[in-house]
């Protein structure tokens, strides 16, 4: 359904010399620095998949999404989505995609949400009965009834996101692009957004491409992730595999009965100490709690032990580190 092949995008950035005369010089003679925002990126996505598109800030995520949405024209490479090349057949192609940018609204700020929806109906030329059906469906699934007649500016961030999601799906797109859909949302709103995305993927068969910095979004929604960094494709595969790879990393909190000044445990790295509580890190693959406690209690008096597996944020930051980002 989505085929991205050797996609590259180079931006030319005008270089300015410092100071006043530098600026004046820049007016007449410009030096350009080429920045490769995307470098030979290829991947395929099948119909009905949810794919997490990850990477640190400035990695080229937005550039890829913008090319796939038909906003930008790539410098080289190919991209065929739904049988169309986005930047060539833009007007035909975008009828079948929905896009939500987490950081900017596409609905009208000053008028009731329902008015924006009606305008979208006209922009997409949606037949009235189909529009009504889809709106009813989305209203029910997102619990929008009480929000529809309120101007967008009076809604909370979470409520706004729900309306944005509904707005992007009114024309029944086959593919949904979500650019950081949970950014800035509270825990409950995040859960609701995730649940909704899962539902539309399952029930309506919509293919979803999602960028996010919240690993819990990925954990909740999909197992397939694509990671890019510095414009290059670095990983395309399962999230579980990566989690498994880093699962040996653990944080261990031990509370002792006595206030030891320094505690040394083989295979563990000391991190911090607060009163009688010491924190360690380990990367031991064969870590077993019973053996560990037995070993430590030979030398020290243990009051309590708590072991935390590495959390998702740490997994991804370790991965970025390893990939040299």
């Amino acid at each position: 359904m989505i085929e991205v092949k050797n996609l590259s995008k180079t931006f030319k950035i005008a270089q300015k010399d410092k100071g006043f005369w530098g600026s004046v010089k820049g007016l007449f003679k410009r030096r350009y620095l080429e920045k490769r925002a995307l470098d030979d990126v290829s991947f395929n996505i099948k119909e009905g998949e949810i794919v997490g598109y990850l990477g640190p800030n400035g990695a080229g995520k937005s550039t890829t999404i913008k090319i796939m949405c038909g906003i930008l024209t790539p410098t080289s490479g190919d991209c065929v989505i739904n049988g169309f090349t986005p930047w060539k057949d833009r007007e035909k192609y975008v009828k079948d995609i929905g896009v939500v940018f987490g950081q900017r609204s596409q609905l009208w700020w000053d008028v009731p949400v329902i008015d924006s929806f009606h305008l979208l109906k006209d922009i997409y030329k949606i037949p009235t009965d189909e529009f009504k059906k889809q709106l009813d469906l989305l209203t029910e699934k997102l619990d929008l009834q009480s929000l529809l007649n309120v101007p967008l500016r009076q809604l909370s961030l979470g409520q706004k996101m729900k309306c944005e999601l509904a707005g992007s799906l009114l024309h029944k797109p086959k593919i949904l692009f979500l650019d950081e859909p949970t950014i800035g949302l509270d825990a409950i709103s995040k859960l609701k957004v995730r649940e909704f995305v899962k539902t539309i993927n399952k029930e309506l068969g919509i293919t979803v491409i999602l960028t996010t910095h919240d690993m819990n979004d990925i954990e909740a929604l999909t197992n397939r992730i694509i990671i890019i960094g510095k414009g290059k494709l670095l990983y395309d595969g399962s999230f579980d595999q990566i989690k498994h790879k880093y699962s040996k990393h653990k944080t261990i909190d031990i509370e002792f009965e006595e206030d030891y000044q320094s505690v040394e445990i083989e295979g563990c790295q000391f991190v911090s100490k607060v009163d009688k509580k010491h924190t360690f890190k380990t990367s031991d693959e064969n870590f077993k709690l019973t053996d560990f406690v037995e070993r430590v209690s030979k030398k020290y008096k243990i009051y309590d032990v708590n072991v935390d597996p590495i959390n998702l944020e740490e997994v991804i930051s370790k991965l970025y580190e390893e990939l040299g980002l």
Binding site: R104, L119, I123
Partner: protein, 259 residues
């Protein structure tokens, strides 16, 4: 039609900020009256400037003001294209199944400029009434042609300005030299200015085609011809063809801004 749906939305938005709307409408109206008053005092002292009477210059003023304000009202999206790029609004145009041109046209309508449009129209009617000239179908057609041509020219300039914004991201004062500057300059017939300046605004940016040249025909001035003067507005309107294609071309060079 989609444009009228947008018009309705802009009107709804306006109703949310009624006081602000009326205040800007009022200020716009006063500004244009002040400009007219200064012209009146000038003529009160000199009676005739470069062969043009007060009522003739008032017609020139009214035509330019009407065209400019009308275009500012309905072509606002192009006028403020830089803001559209900076806010990311242009990105969302690209993901809708309509042309960028159409969506830009729909994106902003500045109703408060209607104050100026109405003043300009009132001045035009009044000046036509006090100007002693022989009316005829041809003269009415020329006058309407002038108004249409002026709108098309200002609109083309806005479009060219918008095209430049694609490359510079920021708005450019250079564009205002031609739009605002042109508006101020052309309130007086071009023969009051040095020849070089008059030539620029005749052949490069065809402002003369919707006031100076056709007005010579309108007032039966010596040397006025049908082909050279009465039909000038038709030639002037051609500027929209290159302007439209330059706009279309620049859209393919759009780089978007970071999030």
């Amino acid at each position: 039609m989609l444009y009228f749906k947008f018009l309705k939305m802009h009107f709804k938005k306006l109703l949310q900020y009624r006081l602000s709307f009326f205040l800007s409408l009022l200020s716009q109206t006063i500004v244009s009256l002040v400009a007219l008053a200064s012209m009146y005092f000038l003529f009160d002292r000199f009676k005739v400037v470069a062969g043009w009477s007060f009522s003739q210059v008032a017609i020139s003023y009214a035509v330019v003001y009407f065209c400019f304000s009308f275009t500012e009202c309905f072509g606002r999206g192009f006028d403020r294209f830089a803001k559209l790029i900076q806010s990311g609004g242009l990105d969302s145009f690209y993901i809708r199944p309509r042309s960028i041109f159409h969506q830009t046209l729909c994106s902003e309508i500045e109703f408060s400029k209607m104050g100026r449009v109405v003043v300009a129209l009132a001045v035009l009617i009044y000046a036509c009434a006090i100007q002693p000239f022989t009316w005829g179908i041809d003269k009415v057609a020329v006058l309407i042609g002038m108004l249409l041509c002026g709108i098309v020219i200002f609109f083309s300039l806005f479009m060219l300005g918008a095209s430049m914004c694609i490359f510079t991201i920021e708005g450019l004062e250079v564009v205002n030299v031609f739009t605002d500057g042109g508006r101020e300059l052309c309130q007086y017939p071009l023969n009051v200015y040095p020849e070089g300046l008059a030539k620029i605004f005749t052949y490069i940016i065809p402002f003369a085609s919707f006031n100076y040249l056709p007005m010579m025909y309108l007032f039966d001035m010596p040397g006025a011809t049908v082909w050279g003067h009465a039909l000038a507005p038709l030639y002037g309107m051609l500027i929209i063809i290159p302007a439209y294609f330059i706009f279309r071309w620049s859209l393919t060079k759009y780089k978007s801004t970071g999030t």
